[in-house]
């Protein structure tokens, strides 16, 4: 009999303890965000839409059509068309990213040595039509115009190729030797894009 009373009392006590624990939250503020009305700030490194970056001085794309990102992409989302001019120099003709296939892994950004492709902080780009999710070069460039990035400072520690040193200021070309590690435009640059 004593056992039963004891069990009953402890049961009631523990139920009340649970209620008290959840009751503590009654007076607290909600931590949820009312999504379409408010948006939270995604961090600097957030991997969202893939964009192409433009050189702010020349207005041309940083991309040199080296195809490294295309080969690095695990899902085959990137398709690059290259044409060669009469001197044999490679030019970018079209650059498509198929957002059906892209898994936002960030490997393309890592592969690129020229700060030409980046996963921006934009994450809202739904479309009514599936076709519209295949972004061509114009769309990718337009999306990347307001994305801040740091141009890699290159050829500092490469005494072997002094002729390539000025390339750090101008647009990089395909025949510049690729610098060792991908510099990645991940530096803390404050933005308001979202």
């Amino acid at each position: 009999m004593v056992e039963v009373v004891k069990q009953f009392a402890s049961g009631i006590y523990n139920l009340l303890l649970g209620m008290f624990t959840s009751g503590k939250h009654l007076t607290r503020h909600a931590i949820t965000v009312q999504y379409p009305k408010e948006r939270w700030e995604v961090p600097e490194r957030s991997r969202g839409m893939v964009v192409l970056l433009t050189d702010h001085e020349t207005g041309r794309l940083n991309c040199t059509a080296c195809l490294l990102c295309m080969r690095g992409c695990p899902s085959g989302a990137i398709d690059i068309e290259v044409e060669k001019d009469e001197k044999g120099k490679r030019h970018l003709k079209n650059f498509t990213v198929d957002f059906h296939l892209c898994c936002f892994c960030g490997l393309c950004e890592e592969a690129c040595n020229f700060a030409a492709i980046k996963l921006s902080r934009k994450y809202e780009f739904p479309e009514y039509d599936k076709k519209d999710l295949i972004y061509d070069i114009q769309k990718l460039q337009a999306a990347g115009l307001d994305v801040p990035y740091e141009k890699p400072v290159r050829n500092k520690v490469e005494p072997k190729t002094p002729s390539a040193a000025p390339a750090a200021a101008g647009t990089p070309t395909a025949d510049t030797p690729p610098p060792p590690p991908p510099p990645a435009a991940e530096g803390p640059t404050p933005t308001e894009a979202g």
């Binding site: 523990n14 649970g18 931590i31 957030s46 899902s75 936002f104 960030g106």
Partner: protein, 368 residues
């Protein structure tokens, strides 16, 4: 009128679309009223051919796939794969890289156990812990997002180290989280551990004996709840786990109740490891120099790590090319699911739900 009443076993399908099967698992149950006479798990609904896909991708490209191998602990999956690739290629990871891996791996273990601590009571009818644990998990997701940019599929650990260094605000935020976390764990315990309803639902239910653990190669917290003291972090230390001081929580009875408590206590130990790692975090390189076209030596390796659900192992065969010749991944859940029919025979359907949840079975790991 006087027709004889008779009873007959009935076959019902639980799943594939069932909230308590944590993924898409179909359980074909033969029931006699509420009593389960037989249970046959049918798997394969979530098959994505990850192993085959890895054969057609370079080592670096396999890592995003491994994220999807088991999406509650993507970090550990990346880690297991990279460990195997490093073994093949004889790569030494810099010290800071190892520390960052441990920090991320343990935070991910906490995040995964938080899902467990939230979802298991929900399967038993208690919704509140779910809301609380996801609030804490959100903090870990924030830490991951500021480091690698994603909340679920991190793609952070690389062959030879990690992808990016942690941002400066990571360490204070992580310490802040660890500071409040102990109190939160006590909250979960207050809600459940002594709760009479919880005890009635879980104590003495779904007992896994140590013999069954050996028979089915059950690993991880589910095995330790039965008193089998085996943790790869201690018994076969990989990375730098031998530098940290932590305990292995053990259960005694091997019932659902113990499995829950073991995981709750494991979160405490993981938090301890993260705190130690943050204190000792050295400066330096985060990633060893690995050539862009990484071609490991021909050969085969098996490397295993302690994932939050048990032993996670990756078996890699290389023919010296840039792509794995064969990749095979082992997740703990497969063995756990095999043991479920053994345990649930003779119990009620409601117990099956509690047991299934308490084993922390997750389907992507089984179907791959």
């Amino acid at each position: 009128m006087a027709e004889e009443l008779r009873t007959e076993d009935m076959t019902v399908n639980m799943g594939p679309q069932h909230p308590s099967t944590h993924g898409v698992c179909r359980l074909v149950l033969t029931v006699d009223g509420e009593i389960i006479r037989d249970c046959v798990p049918v798997i394969g609904f979530l098959h994505r051919a990850i192993e085959k896909m890895c054969e057609n991708r370079t080592y670096a490209q396999c890592i995003p796939l491994m994220d999807r191998f088991e999406y509650c602990t993507s970090m550990s999956c990346n880690w297991a794969f990279c460990l195997a690739a490093e073994k093949l290629g004889d790569i030494k990871v810099p010290e800071r890289g190892e520390y960052l891996r441990v920090i991320m791996g343990e935070l991910n273990r906490i995040a995964s156990h938080l899902i467990f601590v939230g979802v298991t009571p929900m399967d038993c009818g208690a919704l509140t812990p779910f809301l609380y644990t996801f609030r804490e998990r959100e903090r870990i997701m924030d830490l991951f997002e500021m480091t690698c940019g994603q909340r679920l599929t991190y793609n952070y650990i690389r062959v030879g180290g990690v992808a990016k260094d942690i941002p400066p605000e990571f360490i204070p935020k992580c310490r802040e989280f660890l500071g409040i976390f102990e109190e939160k764990i006590r909250d979960y315990e207050k809600l459940l551990v002594d709760n009479p309803i919880w005890i009635a639902r879980n104590k003495g239910i779904g007992i896994i004996t140590p013999q069954l653990v050996y028979d089915y190669a059950i690993s991880g917290p589910s095995a330790r709840a039965s008193g089998v003291n085996f943790d790869i972090r201690k018994n076969d230390p990989y990375s730098i786990y031998d530098l940290f001081d932590f305990d292995i929580p053990l259960g005694t009875n091997g019932d659902s109740y113990d499995r829950f408590n073991v995981r709750v206590n494991e979160m405490r130990q993981s938090a301890r490891i993260v705190a130690q790692a943050l204190d000792q975090l050295p400066d330096g390189e985060i990633r060893a120099k690995v050539p862009l076209k990484f071609k490991p030596n021909p050969g085969e390796v098996y490397s295993r790590i302690e994932n939050s659900r048990g032993e996670m192992g990756v078996y890699l065969v290389s023919d010296g090319g840039p792509k794995p010749f064969r990749m095979r991944a082992r997740g703990g859940s497969y063995n756990h699911l095999q043991a479920v029919p053994h345990i649930v025979k003779g119990l009620k359907i409601a117990d099956l739900v509690a047991i299934f949840a308490s084993m922390d079975i997750i389907m992507p790991e089984i179907d791959r």
